[in-house]
């Protein structure tokens, strides 16, 4: 296994738009090799996912004990059990709860993190260095250590068993990961952009919205994608702050199929995890396109 970060061979061929007609033949061969390599890597990488899918159709006695990929017989009832939902709460309700939380989190993170990032990356203010250091430090403390104080705060604010503890922090840019991410992208933009905008009469607000934000679109799309997926999968926070089953999410319901003190239902749990996976797959498929298109339309080509 290689640990080197230096790309080798075909990967180094980063040029996509330059005129390369002169060397067409080796390029074609190189492309075939690239595709073959990628497909082979995918075969290995996607095997565990195939396993997950196959297991969701296995009967109970095969789920753990059997080490074969394919089920001995197809157990569709895993899916019907999972689709029944949990404790009178339908799967659709769970789904829409998850969507609400993840959607709110996306809006919150993209808005608040880009605002904060703009200040850190491109504006000057007192204590910028120490505040930036503090922001980075907030991701260094394991979250288990602040869980109880945070719970007390949200309890005092009367927000336990609402979606506020899951969404509000995102509107307040508490995820330094994304602030830092966007900062790095904004610092990558030439300073002249704002100078030009200023000469055109833009203040910091207009140049933020009109110049900087569009150019950081890859970072914003990345923020949106990660926020959606990570919020979706964030079992722990949902567990702590949500009480009523009708407010539960798919991720929470998923876990309730496994209870060590009584009979677990691993088959339906796998089925449920496939069901819970579908929305984030769709979300990713829908948004990943923008990762590329973002730049092509942005006009930096000049």
């Amino acid at each position: 296994m290689t640990t080197s970060t230096t790309p080798t061979g075909p990967s180094a061929a980063t040029d996509t738009s330059a005129a390369t007609a002169a060397v067409r033949k080796p390029v074609a061969r190189r492309r075939v090799a690239l595709h073959l390599g990628a497909l082979a890597a995918l075969l290995v990488m996607l095997y565990p996912l195939a396993w997950l899918l196959a297991t969701s159709l296995k009967p109970a006695d095969e789920v753990i004990a059997s080490l074969d990929l394919l089920p001995g017989s197809l157990e569709w009832s895993n899916y019907s059990t999972a689709l029944d939902g949990v404790n009178d709460v339908s799967v659709w309700r769970l789904l829409s709860n998850s969507l609400l939380i993840a959607g709110g989190a996306v809006v919150g993170n993209v808005l608040s993190c880009s605002l904060a990032a703009y200040a850190f990356a491109r504006l000057r203010f007192r204590f910028r260095g120490p505040l930036f250091a503090f922001m980075i430090a907030t991701i260094m403390l394991p979250h288990h250590a602040v869980l109880i104080p945070q719970y007390i705060i949200f309890n005092q604010l009367g927000m336990v068993n609402t979606y506020w503890p899951l969404i509000l922090p995102k509107f307040l840019a508490t995820e330094a990961f994304f602030v830092f991410l966007i900062v790095q992208f904004m610092r990558g933009l030439p300073r002249e952009l704002e100078e030009a905008a200023r000469i055109d009469g833009c203040g910091p607000f207009r140049s933020f919205f009109l110049v900087i934000l569009p150019l950081t679109r890859p970072a914003l799309i990345t923020t949106a994608i990660f926020t959606f997926i990570w919020t979706w999968n964030d079992f722990f926070t949902q567990l702590i702050y949500l009480f009523s089953p009708e407010k539960f999410t798919l991720t929470l319901a998923l876990r309730s199929f496994v209870d060590a003190s009584s009979t677990s239902a691993f088959g339906p749990m796998f089925a449920m995890s496939v069901i819970a996976l579908l929305p984030i797959v769709l979300f990713f498929l829908a948004f990943q396109r923008f990762l590329v298109e973002g730049m092509a339309n942005s006009g930096i080509k000049g």
Binding site: N87, D88, I148, Y151, N155, T162, P245, R255, S256, F266
Partner: protein
């Protein structure tokens, strides 16, 4: 509780700081609606438990019935799997937000009671009837003489085995009153004749150790909450298990380490052993995993026939000390434990009820594995000693220490004595605090 007031004040200091910071900032408009608010002047109770979706469905049905009988009360229910539940409840309790009515485990009682989280049921004596409860079992919910928790159901340990494979091997079947050395011989013979280990390595299980220890007339903890055994006792037990494992009579370390509390990940559940020692009700999971079915047999006794196993409350109900409506909360507890209609709905989903009349009344209706568990418990009725009182607070830490220390033995990184010394040192430190 004397600690109660200080506990509140330290939390209220955080609250004050919160208020200060929030009001300092200009954005005070973000306080959300209170989720626990009642409607139409109804008394609203929050009730939480752990369990699987089946238990959830039946519990909800019983709660619906309670609401029908008490139209003035609304019950909000919530549940999760055991591990998640434990953490959630601890966070809620630490945050001063414990639910009104909660399901509790044996190991939680001492901690929650001494932390001032639980209500002394004596304060609501008129609402709760415990006349039908076995005194010994009821006493397990007491701390310092006060009844903080009421046992809801009982369970006991069992040697659960693959019926067909054990019978086919020709090894003598387990019987009540068999001893640990007879058990060890049976494991060796099973391994020899079937080619599979006879059982899960019992060395990692604090529960199995307790059964063995009680068979020798000792206990995990003394009544004044100190350690009830010595380094020598534990060394003896781990040497016993270590030897069997080296002989191949019980599961190897590579199998034992995968135990996570679910039956699916036991060697028996994976088809890698003939038997397992487990609690009776959760063993129902084996039915789907072992093709030809399983049988429940009693745990081995001490060499002089002293039974080590006991009827242990598999779960309790408790009420929060600061519950807004203590009387109604205790009413719900009484309903769940004593109401015949509720018992009919709940059946044995929480284990065999502790209420003796109800236990008999639901018996005819029990089916399948519930019936098996009921019969198994009935076969032991009257033969077992009274259960010990709830374990002291440090026990939840020690349970994992027990597994970790034995892991060191089974992976041959420590000798049984070294591991036992490590455990006892840590146990003494835990129990002191």
């Amino acid at each position: 509780m004397p600690g109660n007031r200080t506990r509140k004040s330290w939390r209220s200091r955080i609250a004050a700081a919160t208020a200060l910071l929030v009001s300092c900032s200009l954005l005070t408009a973000c306080s959300g609606p209170d989720g626990a608010g009642g409607d139409g002047g109804k008394v609203v109770l929050r009730y939480t438990w752990w369990g699987n979706p089946d238990r959830a469905a039946r519990t909800q049905e019983a709660v619906d019935l309670f609401e029908k009988k008490h139209p003035e009360i609304e019950v909000q229910t919530s549940f999760s799997g055991y591990d998640a539940y434990k953490q959630k409840l601890a966070t809620q309790a630490a945050g001063g937000d414990a639910p009104d009515v909660m399901q509790l485990d044996y190991r939680m009682i001492d901690q929650y009671a001494s932390g001032g989280v639980l209500l002394d049921f004596a304060e609501q004596r008129s609402v709760l009837d415990t006349g039908e409860f076995d005194a010994g079992l009821l006493a397990t919910g007491k701390v310092d003489g006060k009844q903080y928790a009421i046992p809801q159901a009982r369970g006991t340990e069992t040697v659960v085995y693959d019926t067909a494979q054990w019978k086919k091997s020709g090894v003598t079947l387990p019987r009540e009153g068999w001893t640990w050395s007879e058990w060890a011989d049976a494991m060796r013979e099973l391994a020899e004749r079937t080619g599979k280990p006879g059982a899960t390595d019992p060395g990692q299980s604090e529960d199995a150790f307790e059964v063995w220890l009680r068979g020798r007339g000792k206990s995990l903890y003394t009544e004044d909450r100190r350690l009830g055994f010595t380094v020598d006792d534990l060394t003896h037990w781990w040497t016993f298990a270590d030897k069997l494992r080296r002989e191949g009579a019980v599961s190897p370390a590579e199998q034992t380490t995968q135990l996570d509390g679910t039956v699916e990940n036991t060697p028996l559940g994976r088809g890698r052993a003939i038997s397992d020692s487990n609690w009776d009700a959760p063993s129902s999971g084996f039915v789907a995993l072992v093709p030809d079915g399983v049988t429940l047999a009693p745990m081995p006794s001490g060499e002089d026939g002293t039974p080590g196993q006991y009827f242990k409350p598999s779960m309790f109900m408790g009420v929060a000390a600061d519950a807004g409506h203590p009387e109604e909360s205790v009413q719900l507890v009484d309903f769940m434990l004593n109401d015949p209609d509720a018992a009919k709905i709940l059946g044995a989903t929480r284990g065999i009820p502790v209420n003796e009349t109800l236990r008999e009344s639901i018996a005819p209706g029990l089916k399948d594995f519930d019936r098996t568990v009921y019969d198994y418990q009935a076969s032991l009725e009257g033969d077992l000693d009274a259960p010990p009182q709830a374990p002291p607070s440090g026990d939840s830490a020690l349970q994992t220490t027990f597994q970790r220390d034995y892991d060191q033995v089974s992976y041959e990184r420590m000798s049984p004595r070294e591991a036992a010394e490590d455990y006892v040192t840590e146990a003494k430190a835990e129990l002191r605090s």
